[in-house]
Structures are given as structure tokens and as C-alpha cells.
């Protein structure tokens, strides 16, 4: 109870924030500092937030970050997750809306050893896969292909993969393959987006916050998009430095690898020819994902789009 006051002293919430009198904003990421969060660190380091009158603190997440609890209890303004999870939040009645995208395409994939006989996701029927139980993609591929996976809980490590030549685990294309190859394993990734499961990754906040302070949300999004654009197109070094300072495992080599994946796979910028852009959330894609999740029974009710999403800050 006594801690409801929040993080370190009363929040500073001026009505007309300026660089000198900034509005304090807390962003909860979904994992330890890593290049997948680069745009935010870039915006922070290059002073874009400060220019926009925001004093941003980035809280790192982890395997059990429980970011939604922090947003709901107003200890973070923004948090990060995939669109499918935000839809689940809405289904449970949580008053949060997704306001911008960080990744246009889902970097999740299934990591196998290069010589694994499975060539497609369908081939994984009955195989053991280390993943986070209950995630939407599992039910998605199981129902779409009529297969069953033997899910074992993800331990957020890679030792078991390295030790077992038939091991399969959920991964991010920007991450695990690097380490596996560094430890001498040849790997392949089956991307979930190829199976049709391709939710946005993005930022959400409480709906009442977006309604009460649309100016702050707008400033945050604009500065973040600026940061992301600069991170992808400019020199990512400021973000890298900030990330490495927070997360001791972040070597320049790894960050260069991850950055390369983000750029080459156009995960952040998407494909402009399809109307994708940094930060963009397309209502059609959101609707399509929602409908598909509902059709597969993963969402047990149809939800109006506005219960989990708004693109008013992206126009």
C-alpha cells in the first residue's frame, strides 16, 4: 500500500511541459536493455525526449516483468508488448490501448539445429519445443496446422539447445542465433511470420492517460519515432552505449548483429510499399489479426478495435 506512491518521489506532471520543466514519463520495456529497444535509448541519449519536454525513465523488463501491472497501477506510463497480448489484455477488461509500433514484423521464430529434419512448422508435430506456455502463437500454429507441440517452459537460456542436437526453442531472430553460432552450433530459424502469425510489437498505455494527456502521448510517440528512425538510419552508437551500460552482456559485436537484423529484415521500418513505416500501426492489420485470433478461438469474444488500439497519435 505504502509503495503505491510510485517510483521515487511524487511524479512531476506539469500541464505545459518544457525542456526546463519536463513531464516525467516511465517506459517499461519487455526485457533487459537490448538493441530491440534501441530507438528509445537513442531518443533518450540524443535528448529528443528532453526537447519534447519529457523526462523519460526506461525501466528494463525481464522474463517476469509484469509490465501490465505496472501500467495499470500507474507506476509506468508506457509498456511494451505484442499486439496479440494487448488484445488479450482488452479481452480481460484491462483499460489499455496500443499507441505505436516498435517493430512492424514479429521477430519471433523457432530455433532448430541446422540438420534438424523439420523443415516447416508443420513438421514440428509432436516435437518438444521450449517456449513460454500460453503464448498466442502456440495455439495459433497448433490450430492452423492441426499439430500438437510438446511445450516445455522457456528457461530463457540456451544451454539445453547447445547440449541436445534435437532441441527446439522459441527465439528472437535478432538474438539467439548469434549466441548459438558463437558457441559453434549451426542453426536455422522458422519464422512465425511465415506461418502467418505476425503481430506488431508496440507500446501501450492506459486509455485514461491517453485521453487525459494526449499531448504527452503525442510528444512521447513523436520523440520515440524520431529516436527509432535515427537508430536505424543514423549512427546507433549512443543507444549502444546506453544499452551496454545497463546490460553487461551487450557486446558491441552482438549489438551490431542485432542491429543488422533489425535493418536487413526491415523489422522497424517495414515495407513502405505496403504502407508500413516506423511506429505505424495499421488498423487493417490489427483487425485481421484480431479476426484470426478469434476464429481460432484464442480470443473468446470479438472486441471493438478501439478497446485495444488507437492510431490517433500516428496520423
Amino acid at each position: 500500500l505504502f509503495a503505491l506512491a510510485g517510483c521515487g518521489g511524487p511524479d512531476h506532471e506539469p500541464a505545459e511541459p518544457t525542456p526546463e520543466n519536463p513531464f516525467r514519463v516511465v517506459l517499461q520495456t519487455d526485457w533487459f536493455a537490448q538493441p530491440e529497444h534501441g530507438g528509445f535509448y537513442q531518443a533518450l541519449e540524443k535528448g529528443y525526449y528532453r526537447e519534447a519536454g519529457l523526462d523519460v525513465e526506461i525501466l528494463e523488463g525481464g522474463p517476469n516483468a509484469m509490465s501490465v501491472q505496472k501500467v495499470l497501477s500507474r507506476r509506468a506510463h508506457f509498456a511494451m508488448n505484442r499486439a496479440d497480448t494487448v488484445m488479450t489484455f482488452a479481452m480481460r477488461g484491462m483499460p489499455v490501448v496500443m499507441v505505436m509500433a516498435t517493430l512492424q514484423h514479429d521477430p519471433q521464430g523457432i530455433l532448430l539445429h541446422a540438420d534438424d529434419p523439420a523443415q516447416t512448422i508443420e513438421d514440428l508435430d509432436g516435437r518438444r519445443v521450449m517456449a513460454v506456455p500460453g503464448l498466442a502463437w502456440i495455439a495459433y500454429v497448433e490450430r492452423k496446422y492441426g499439430i500438437t507441440l510438446d511445450i516445455v517452459p522457456h528457461d530463457f537460456g540456451m544451454e539445453r539447445f547447445l547440449a541436445d542436437p534435437r532441441f527446439i526453442q522459441q527465439c528472437l531472430v535478432t538474438n539467439e542465433p548469434y549466441y548459438m553460432e558463437k558457441h559453434g552450433a549451426e542453426v536455422r530459424v522458422l519464422r512465425l511470420s511465415e506461418a502467418g502469425f505476425n503481430p506488431y510489437h508496440g507500446i501501450y498505455c492506459r486509455r485514461d492517460f491517453a485521453e487525459a494527456r494526449p499531448d504527452i502521448v503525442q510528444r512521447f510517440i513523436d520523440a520515440s519515432i524520431r529516436g527509432w528512425t535515427d537508430f536505424i538510419e543514423g549512427d546507433p552508437a549512443p543507444a549502444f552505449d546506453a544499452i551496454a551500460a545497463r546490460n553487461p552482456k551487450m557486446t558491441p559485436d552482438f549489438m551490431a548483429y542485432a542491429h543488422g537484423r533489425l535493418v536487413e529484415d526491415r523489422l522497424v521500418t517495414g515495407f513502405p510499399e505496403r504502407g508500413e513505416a516506423v511506429g505505424r500501426l495499421g488498423p487493417e492489420r490489427m483487425r485481421a489479426l484480431h479476426d484470426e485470433l478469434h476464429a481460432l478461438g484464442i480470443l473468446d469474444e470479438r472486441l471493438p478495435l478501439e478497446t485495444f488500439f488507437t492510431d490517433e497519435f500516428l496520423r
Binding site: T85, T88, F89, M94, P133, V152, P153, D155
Partner: protein
């Protein structure tokens, strides 16, 4: 304190307190206007329990197996190790620190090793439940084995009791009140241990247990489901504690004071 009055009390008071706690629960929920996803109401938890009854029943069975295996191993091996430690001074001095050491290793650090050696599923889950419940049994039993009144030890020494006789005929019976305390702690930890095990080493194919269900409910933000699974954990735990207490009554009834002056079912 007539027997019937006692039984009435032993049912009445917990019910009363239970009702009070339920009231408190509703009150907290009402006062802070907490939605179901933060704190579901008791009836919402029961609803989830009903909705998910088949999945939860299967999960509870899996967890029960893991807990039972882990608990039996913790009590059995813990007791055995305590005996060894009490019997051999060298082990007590030389090995006990490393037993403590083992106890202090976080599961997350060992889980990968355990799963690698034992494979996911029941064996690993039971191993983790075992690791969690093991030390309380050892610590309590060793304390009990060392708390024998010195005159009784002298009696045995005088009669030239062999070490194993001193151990089994004196130290073991004398340590039972301590042992049962340790076993009671292990019993409450058995289900927790199994759930923790499932979080690190469960498997859908092997009927992921309640821990696995909690992970799933967590991913899908099903708070009433989490509470329902938790409720089952607690009920399972009570079964274990109850079993320990029955055994304790059976073994100590005749001679130990604590049962005589205070009949205390828990």
C-alpha cells in the same frame, strides 16, 4: 474441554476466520475498486475453477504426483542424511556445510542441469520439489538428533550401545518431535516445490501440472484462473500437512507432552 466441544471448536473457529477473511477479501476489492484481473472476487475464482475443471483436475493430479515424489524423497533422503550426519562426526563436520551450500543454490541456476540430466516432466519436477523440501527436514532432524538429554546418551554409552543402537534406539525416537516439525515444513513446501519444478521443467505432453497452468494463465492474463490453480495448490498442500500430522499423532501420542497439553490438529 470435552471431546465434542473440541471438535466443534476445531471446525467452528476456522470457518469463522475463513468467513472473516472472505469478507475482508470482498471489502478490499470493493474499497479499492479492484477489477478481476487484479484481484478476482472469491466467486469469480470458483467460477474459473468450475470452467477449467477438467484441465485443472488433470493438472492437480500431475502436481500431486510430483509433490508426492518430491516430498517422499525429501523426507526419506533428508531423514537418511540426517542419520548419517548424526552418526558420523566426520560427515557432520565435513559434509554438512556442503549440504547447506546445496540448499542455498537458487533453483534457476540448477534447473537447466536437472532438466538436462533427468529430462523434462515428472522426474525433474520431483527433483526440484525434493531440493526445496530436503533441507528443512535435514536441519530439523539434525537439531533433534542433537537435542537428546545428555543423561540418556550417557546411559547408552554405559550399556556399550553400538553407535547404530544409540542412533536408532535413542536419538531417532528422541528427535521425532523435531523431525515432524521439519516434515511439516517440507509438506507445505512440497506443492510449492512441485509448482516451481513445473515452471522450470514441466511439459505439456507429460500433463503439465498446476505450475504449468499458472504459466499459461499468466500468459493469457487469466487472473481468476491463476487464483483457482493456486487454491488447488493449497488444498493439495493441506493433504500433505494432514498426512504428516496424522503420522505425528500416531508416533508421539503416547509420550510427548506437546500433544497432551495442547491438542492442536495443525
Amino acid at each position: 474441554m470435552s471431546p465434542t466441544g473440541t471438535w466443534r471448536e476445531y471446525i467452528g473457529w476456522p470457518l469463522l476466520f475463513g468467513a472473516g477473511l472472505l469478507g475482508l477479501w470482498y471489502a478490499v476489492k470493493g474499497i479499492f475498486a479492484l477489477p478481476a484481473y487484479t484481484l478476482p472476487a472469491p466467486h469469480e475464482v470458483l467460477g474459473a475453477l468450475f470452467d477449467q475443471r477438467t484441465a485443472l483436475a488433470r493438472a492437480a493430479l500431475a502436481t500431486a504426483k510430483g509433490s508426492l515424489a518430491g516430498f517422499s524423497a525429501a523426507v526419506g533422503l533428508g531423514f537418511a542424511l540426517s542419520l548419517l550426519i548424526a552418526a558420523f562426526r566426520v560427515l557432520r563436520i565435513g559434509l554438512y556445510p556442503y549440504v547447506l551450500f546445496m540448499q542455498m543454490v537458487p533453483i534457476i541456476a540448477t534447473a537447466a542441469i536437472i532438466v538436462t540430466w533427468l529430462d523434462a516432466g515428472l522426474p525433474s519436477v520431483a527433483a526440484i520439489a525434493f531440493l526445496i523440501g530436503f533441507f528443512p527436514v535435514v536441519a530439523s532432524t539434525v537439531a533433534g538428533l542433537h537435542s537428546v538429554p545428555s543423561e540418556q546418551v550417557e546411559l547408552f554409552r554405559l550399556y556399550k550401545a553400538r553407535p547404530w543402537q544409540e542412533l536408532f534406539l535413542l536419538r531417532v525416537p528422541s528427535s521425532l518431535p523435531y523431525f515432524f516439525t521439519g516434515a511439516k515444513i517440507a509438506a507445505t513446501l512440497a506443492v510449492i516445490g512441485s509448482v516451481t519444478g513445473e515452471i522450470f521443467a514441466g511439459s505439456t505432453a507429460r500433463g503439465g501440472g498446476l505450475g504449468f497452468m499458472i504459466l499459461i494463465y499468466k500468459s493469457s492474463v487469466n487472473t481468476p484462473g491463476i487464483f483457482a490453480a493456486t487454491l488447488l495448490c493449497c488444498l493439495l498442500g493441506f493433504l500433505f500437512v494432514g498426512a504428516v500430522l496424522l503420522l505425528k499423532r500416531f508416533f508421539l501420542r503416547k509420550w510427548h507432552d506437546s500433544l497432551d497439553t495442547d491438542f492442536n490438529p495443525l
